[in-house]
Chain length 272, copies 2
């Protein structure tokens, strides 16, 4: 999907919500466990109930890998379901990969070609040749970790290096890589005030913002400092939506939570 | 496996060779492609031919993920084969994972519990709470990226931060994490002269050293600067061994290459 198509969908749906599919057998309603593929059953119900209110889904790959071969099958079924039923929805593989060039190329093939995701999250520590193989794919986005939403973000990402914080240096440097127009960035909502500075470096690129909700970030703050005239934001919510209830009407309640967030987002879009 | 058991195996076999299983359908002998599971057939042949000369195997997870469900099946079969036939061999999941705490825990479960690897490579960018969930596992090692062997290593890893290079800061900081005794570090052979400085910070921890061979690193240099009285080194070679030949005797030739490296290693161990 192109950046423009994503933007058009955001304005049409008045939503820049991404629903995180961190599907965990220990957290989904127990009655689903007797189904043949409980992970897919859960995802399908969540997707059917929330797709009107969001523009993207982000399976967290760790949760599927933890289930081995069955997990990969469930991931494949989920992404195939999205492609066939809701092809307008944007898909993010939250995989945080990154390795030497020939290996990153294999990861890119796995997520962009075999699974058909629109984008993947990638870690910057190994530098240019670990990220560029992802950037080569046309109409696919590479979402680089810049400033994450966890406590450990302050261990290295905010270290001063030649007068600026490492995460800013990462963003600055990445602008010079081949096909940099395919870059988006992860910036945690728990650090919304940092967004103003980040926008000085990348005024237009999309930001994927985790940490609204369960991790304590605030949507209004994120929009105040991070929104562009073309929105430029995908705000992710996982646990707060998909685990809002563990009863038999879990999907309906997830839908209501997603709708509530979409309403808030529509208000923010009014301000543009 | 404990660090002591690994060390004992190294002295017994006079080898600290790790064979990287970067198994690629485009590079293995073409006649294997007609087999039911070409990846496993290739790995089995390589393992049978090289196990006498090495102490560890390191499947590069990207190469398996690129094959989807079939790739995960081949990975599982490979690790199960190692466990049943050669249980003394150490296993490394070269996965370079790292995410917020609850997600890293899922990755740890996938690689340590479900697949039963002895260790996994992990990226440091997200800090303490992204790595500690891996460190909690008893008799398992977490191999943190410090200074990698690729060109992009110089983009961020060697940036000066508060008077020292980022990779040194990563190593220093990680020493304070819970269960830090379970840490090993990735240090590329292409930067062997950096090993002397690294040994000042971590005199004892094992280092996993990629880049000898295909990427141009030199074994003698690595040992000169990086070896401890308990060896403390695992030197990886992937392509130079497993793709030494693509003819029907590929495994035999891989065995000969591994033996040649083992001979060099035995000489280095003599110097202790």
């Amino acid at each position: 999907m192109t950046t423009q198509e994503l933007t058009e969908q955001i304005f049409k749906k008045k939503s820049f919500l991404c629903v995180g599919l961190d599907t965990d057998l220990e957290k989904i309603p127990t009655y689903l466990l007797s189904e043949k593929d409980p992970v897919f059953s859960f995802n399908k119900a969540i997707i059917d109930a929330t797709h009107e209110f969001c523009v993207a889904y982000k399976p967290n790959i760790a949760f599927y890998e933890a289930l081995g071969v069955d997990g990969w099958k469930a991931l494949k079924k989920t992404i195939d379901y999205l492609h066939s039923e809701y092809p307008e929805l944007y898909t993010i593989a939250d995989a945080k990969r990154g390795d030497i060039g020939n290996t990153s190329r294999m990861y890119a093939k796995a997520f962009f070609e075999d699974l058909g995701f629109d984008s993947i999250t990638v870690a910057p520590y190994m530098g240019k040749d670990s990220v560029e193989p992802f950037l080569e794919f046309e109409n696919k986005h590479t979402i680089l970790l810049a400033l994450t939403s966890n406590e450990g973000a302050f261990d290295f990402q905010t270290l001063r290096t030649n007068g600026e914080d490492l995460y800013k240096k990462v963003i600055e440097t990445s602008k010079g890589w081949n096909n940099a127009e395919n870059l988006m960035y992860v910036v945690g909502a728990t650090k919304a005030e940092y967004l103003a500075d980040i926008r000085k470096i990348i005024p237009d690129n999309f930001l994927l913002v985790p940490g609204v909700g369960a991790q304590g970030g605030n949507l209004e703050e994120v929009c105040k400092y991070g929104m562009t005239k073309n929105v430029g934001l995908l705000v992710n919510s996982s646990r707060k939506i998909i685990y809002a209830s563990d009863s038999s009407n879990f999907a309906e309640i997830a839908g209501a939570k997603a709708e509530a967030m979409q309403n808030q987002m529509a208000e923010e879009l009014e301000k543009l």
